[in-house]
């Protein structure tokens, strides 16, 4: 049985392709790329872009421990719907993914229930407590793709240095959530005019920037690579830009809400505008957009952070941080960056595929002869209205409900299997 994706426009960032081309898929792999290909089944991609399955370096699937928010099964369905075929799950579950058994658990659950590739990142310190490092050689051996204490930073510079050194030895990159927690007392939004106006405790930009700077310096000291998660401020971008100029192996990501929204969105006290790091100001949004265009920001990640309606439907100050993102990321990239001319569609695809895959050396983010058939087909012009009730995710916590967005995923193939399909069968 073979499947041919016909009449689409192929964008393959690694090969530098952007042209009309068919893709023939057989037994889970790409058989050939070319014009006028035939197969047993046809997926008509007329008007659509065909690209590698999207890759997200930052999702929270909540399993084990918080299965009322999301599971590996529902999270992977949300991913497939959003065009993602590989996601890196954060280890701040309960219990945390801080030993080989927990990494194996994640892979086992993924084999049992996931329709896409779920790649666990493991904790860098036991219990995410920032004190003793995890057994990283063994974590690497059982397939952890990175280490991170995401959700918080490692407060001790001593511990962070050793984690970076040891992780580099084991071939595990550190994904750094940069935050000097001591600089805020129960802060819940960006510190600035709007936090003053709304009477909400603030989280100053310096909280993030101080630790971006510290963590890069420690990585340099440790001769280790480092990946900075969810960059949100102009100042943070500047620090990263300088580090890159000096040739340091630093990469970073940002998430769609950081180029779509400012802290003004907190007016009204809607808790779907509450995430960490928080929404910043217009000057930061501008810097994020520019940094995506000039390459200072290496990739787009969602920080998909599901929470139940009950958890979010409370006073702003006591609501949990985070929003879901997998099902809106591509459309927010097209609507917020491609449509206004900030990014070409090719660059946008790169930021969601080969670029994140390259950061962690994942076998993903490309379409090549003989390679795994992880492929996304999307209509860049299709408009749709975000309706959280229709999400595949178990959670509904998005600030984009009711937004009209452009760009809709029509089909997602993972290992040649159609894990999401709005096009229908034979054309």
């Amino acid at each position: 049985m073979s499947l041919v994706i016909k009449n689409g426009h192929l964008i393959e960032p690694r090969a530098g392709l952007s042209e009309p081309m068919d893709v023939l898929v057989e037994r889970g792999r790409v058989r050939s790329l070319g014009k006028h290909l035939d197969g047993d089944e046809v997926l008509d991609a007329r008007g659509c872009i065909v690209c590698p399955g999207l890759v997200d370096l930052h999702v929270h699937f909540r399993e084990p421990g918080y299965e009322t928010k999301e599971t590996i099964e529902t999270g992977s369905r949300a991913a497939a719907w959003g065009g993602f075929t590989s996601v890196v799950t954060m280890p701040n579950t309960a219990p945390a993914i801080d030993n080989a058994g927990m990494v194996e658990f994640t892979y086992r659950r993924a084999r049992e229930v996931a329709c896409i590739k779920v790649l666990p990142a493991a904790c860098a310190t036991k219990g995410r407590e920032g004190r003793e490092m995890t057994e990283m050689a063994e974590l690497k051996a059982v397939g952890a793709v990175a280490v991170t204490d995401d959700g918080s930073d490692i407060a001790s510079s001593w511990v962070m240095r050793r984690v970076l050194e040891y992780g580099a030895m084991c071939g595990l990159k550190y994904l750094a959530h940069c935050e000097d927690a001591s600089l805020s007392e129960d802060g819940v939004m960006n510190e600035g005019y709007h936090s003053t106006r709304l009477g909400l405790p603030g989280r100053p930009k310096a909280m993030e920037e101080i630790m971006i700077d510290r963590n890069i310096r420690l990585a340099e000291l440790a001769r280790a690579p480092i990946h900075i998660q969810h960059v949100t401020t102009a100042g943070g971008i500047e620090i990263i830009r300088r580090a890159k100029d000096r040739g340091l192996p630093v990469t970073c990501e940002t998430a769609p809400h950081y180029w779509m929204l400012t802290d003004d969105a907190v007016s009204g006290f809607g808790t779907n505008a509450k995430m960490n790091p928080p929404l910043r100001e217009a000057v930061d949004v501008e810097a994020i957009r520019a940094a995506l265009a000039d390459g200072t920001i290496d990739c787009i990640a969602t920080d998909h952070a599901p929470h139940t309606i009950t958890e979010k439907d409370v006073e702003f100050q006591i609501a949990p941080f985070g929003i879901v993102g997998l099902e809106t990321a591509l459309a927010l990239t097209i609507t917020g960056l491609v449509e206004p001319g900030i990014l070409s569609i090719e660059r946008a695809v790169e930021l969601l595929t080969s670029a994140p895959a390259g950061i962690l050396d994942l076998k993903a983010g490309e379409i090549r002869d003989g390679g795994k058939a992880d492929i996304t087909v999307f209509d860049p012009a299709a408009e749709w209205i975000v309706d959280p009730a229709k999400f595949q995710s178990m959670s509904r916590n998005t600030p984009f409900a009711g937004y009209t967005l452009r760009g809709r995923v029509r089909a997602t193939l993972c290992d040649g299997v159609l894990v999401h399909n709005e096009i229908g069968g034979d054309a």
């Binding site: 600035g192 003053t196 909400l200 006073e315 702003f316």
Partner: protein, 325 residues
């Protein structure tokens, strides 16, 4: 009953001063004096039947004596039934959500909900979801609109008295607000209220207790008390909380007093006509000397008297202006 109101009241709730227009604020201020008169009746029958048969629920998640008493009296003088729920008796301790608690109160048919809560935005999120008229009696550091309105009424009364002009407004009146601006909902609501009414507001306090970019709310900011009050018509002292010292926001009350207390010495630079206000409760001799608090320039008890009238005016406007609840 409302006299020559320029506009009609159209809001279901009173959540904050920020969204109000100047005519709306003036409508409240102009509605209040008749209720001052009700409370001052020589007959001793300090009651009108405007909210007869209505239920006003005082729902206080934070301890409060003054505001709570004032609201309760206001409701009673409008002939409403009143019910009080406090944090210790409420189901918050049992883990019930704010929305669920209010839904249960509403199931018993409430008309007005007066809520005081330690978290900013509580009143607003309730107002958008529930049918009762919500009055914000203080939400975190966000707003305390009835305090600002009673303060504005008191200031306007005093300015009118001083100028012998019964129609004088607060346009151009200079108000200095002194103290912990950061943690103060009173300061925020007063800034909105006074600037909308045309007053010129200067905020003064330790740099550590001044929230970022507050100048964008249309006020002057200084850390120099003398500068703040040098041309003030009104000196408004805020309560300073000793706990802030443990959080490294100021070194000691001693030093706070040295720099920011309103007392016989520090007030020398202010105009003689400047009067003194405070939202209470006062830390005597800390932010304000006892001598000045009790002196002729103090209008602190008039604030309290006006508080009942302003709250009566608000409840009356919310319930009787024909806005469906």
């Amino acid at each position: 009953m409302a006299d020559t109101a320029p506009i009609a009241w159209t809001r279901k709730d009173l959540i904050g001063i920020e969204p109000l227009s100047r005519p709306e604020i003036e409508l409240i201020l102009d509605t209040a004096p008749q209720f001052v008169a009700v409370s001052a009746r020589v007959s001793g029958i300090r009651k009108v039947p405007l909210l007869q048969g209505r239920l006003v629920v005082n729902w206080f998640y934070e301890p409060s004596t003054r505001t709570r008493t004032s609201f309760e009296l206001a409701a009673k003088r409008l002939s409403a039934d009143t019910l009080s729920i406090s944090a210790s008796t409420s189901s918050l301790v049992k883990g019930e959500s704010l929305h669920d608690t209010l839904a249960n109160i509403e199931a018993m048919r409430s008309d007005v909900i007066v809520i005081r809560h330690k978290y900013a935005g509580s009143a607003q999120i309730l107002a958008t979801r529930h049918e009762s008229h919500i009055i914000n009696a203080g939400d975190g550091r966000h707003e305390h609109p009835t305090q600002a309105l009673l303060d504005a009424l008191t200031m306007r009364d005093k300015i009118r008295e001083r100028r012998g002009d019964a129609t004088a407004s607060l346009d151009g009146v200079r108000v200095a607000i002194i103290g912990d601006i950061s943690h103060s909902r009173v300061a925020r609501s007063n800034v909105w209220c006074l600037t909308k009414l045309g007053a010129r507001v200067t905020l003064c306090g330790p740099s550590t207790l001044m929230p970022p970019e507050i100048g964008r709310m249309g006020v002057d900011v200084t850390t120099d008390l003398g500068e703040a009050i040098a041309d003030a018509d009104v000196i408004y002292a805020l309560r300073i909380q000793l706990e802030r010292q443990q959080r490294c926001l100021f070194p000691s009350l001693r030093e706070y007093i040295r720099m920011f207390r309103i007392d016989r010495e520090s007030i020398k630079v202010a105009p003689e006509h400047a009067f003194i206000m405070h939202p209470g409760p006062i830390n005597r001799d800390i932010e304000l000397s006892a001598e000045l608090a009790d002196g002729k320039r103090s209008v602190i008890l008039e604030q309290v008297t006006n508080g009942v009238a302003v709250r009566m005016a608000i409840m009356h406007l919310l319930v009787n202006s024909g806005v469906e609840n």
